[in-house]
């Protein structure tokens, strides 16, 4: 049970590293969907292990919101944008991946300092969530396309959910539902913004917002 749980937590981390490596938008959305599924499976294991009832609801809500509705929305936006294109980044992909490896190292060193805390499924789940958070933040900064910045945001949200379920048995249900609704609205708003940028600049680079236009 514990091994399986830490395997799912590991998969969340591995999928976010792969997300850094993927040069295609559609593949990145697929990876994000898979990551949300892994996260919800992890929450299910926590629910079975601790027997807290609201975690089952949390599993269901995560699966539906993050695993189905948000990816479907993103796929629709992708279809509206049209052409499949490579993701531009500020640094090259290999150096970004090595940086994410550094984040894993740093967070594993940090986690050894947390000696007083009890973790449900071992300390590695916390390492995984912390490094996923850092990788998501890095993706927000280094990618030039607005669309993949939405993806970075989603990865960070997944990491926070994982962290909430690693030390304690999740957040209160009302907080969780609020966060999920928040994500949905933010994805909606940023996709509207994305389509508007595309209409006025015929491209989805964030940099094009820097120039003035009549």
């Amino acid at each position: 049970m514990e091994q399986l749980a830490s395997f799912f937590a590991l998969m969340v981390l591995v999928l976010s590293i792969l997300n850094v490596a993927s040069p295609f938008l559609k593949f990145a959305v697929n990876l994000n969907m898979l990551q949300s599924w892994m996260l919800s499976l992890y929450i299910l294991l926590v629910a079975i292990n601790s027997g807290v009832f609201h975690l089952y609801l949390s599993f269901f809500a995560t699966l539906v919101f993050k695993g189905l509705i948000v990816p479907i929305l993103l796929f629709r936006v992708l279809r509206r944008i049209g052409k499949e294109r490579e993701i531009d980044m500020v640094v090259s992909i290999p150096s970004a991946i090595v940086m994410s490896g550094m984040f894993v190292l740093v967070s594993s060193i940090l986690s050894t300092k947390l000696t007083g805390l009890e973790f449900l499924f071992g300390r590695f789940v916390f390492v995984s969530s912390l490094s996923t958070l850092l990788i998501g933040g890095m993706l927000l900064v280094i990618r030039k396309i607005l669309f993949s910045q939405i993806l970075g945001l989603l990865i960070m949200e997944n990491a926070i959910f994982l962290a909430a379920n690693s030390a304690a048995t999740g957040m209160p249900l009302i907080v969780e539902l609020g966060v999920l609704f928040d994500i949905l609205i933010s994805v909606l708003i940023s996709s509207v913004l994305l389509l508007r940028i595309r209409r006025s600049f015929e491209d989805i680079q964030v940099e094009s917002l820097e120039v003035l236009k009549e």
Partner: protein
Amino acid sequence: MNLAFGILQGLMVLILAPFFAGFVHRLKQRARGQKGVSPFQYYRNLYKLLKKETVLSKDATLVSYLAPFMYLLPHILLGFMMPFFYGKPLLAPTNPILITYLMALAVFFLTLYALDQASSFGGLGSSREWFLSSLSEPAFLLLLFSVCLYSKEWDLSIAFLKLGQEVQSLILGYTQHFSVSIPFLLIISLFVLMLAENARIPFDNPETHLELTMIHEANILEASGRHLLLFEYASHLRLTVFLSLISILIFPYIAQEPFYFLLAFALYFLKMLLLGSVLAFVESINAKMRLFRLPNILSVAFVLSLLTLILSMGV
């Protein structure tokens, strides 16, 4: 007794190596809809090459005569070093650095051969070969280190043996700290490294001689006759060694007593056929990648092996 079985294990792997390569080749051809050559075709190729004469360019020096043998020798040593299916190989104490060094030594002589013939493709091929292998070797080293750290043993043959005992205890029902994540990560990153080091499809396509894409073939373009035989046979052996490493990780059953030798060999053979099919499948569904996109995959493999190292330190 142990000595005899150690030698027997190495010889069996040496003899079977062209068969495994031929099996993968045949599966790939069948997947493309061709009729496919027999899996024993590579033995016939090697026999044909044995009878041909060796032609060298007039600029060739002593290096060209030595390099093919020096490319084969590390692979033969590796064949006698790894515990493929019998727990006590001939050259017993092996450690990660020795294995990685032998792999690098072989590549060194391969590229030296390519440079020595002074053809225009040689320099191109050797620089590309080092580009790939300098990226994949750190990952390979970290990966072997994490196997050692996980089983707390520097000798790789004993480390794999311990891994096998853990899997047996998992099947028998009493397990303490067996981890699912570590073998999973090891298999994935080792598979990527196997594709890179053996010139397999997302990295290189050894079946074509298109000058823009070839990496491994550009190095042995000038080789003929006996030299080509040595290079071809050594590359089959290299593929077999890598596949065997993965097969040990997938289901580590290694015989400790001579009594179980045949059973372990049968299991090993089955695992190799399975892995060959997986390899052929992966090669069939992928296309050759651009050269400058290869560091992306290799750096993922590097970070995954770093992650394995962190996991096996028991964070």
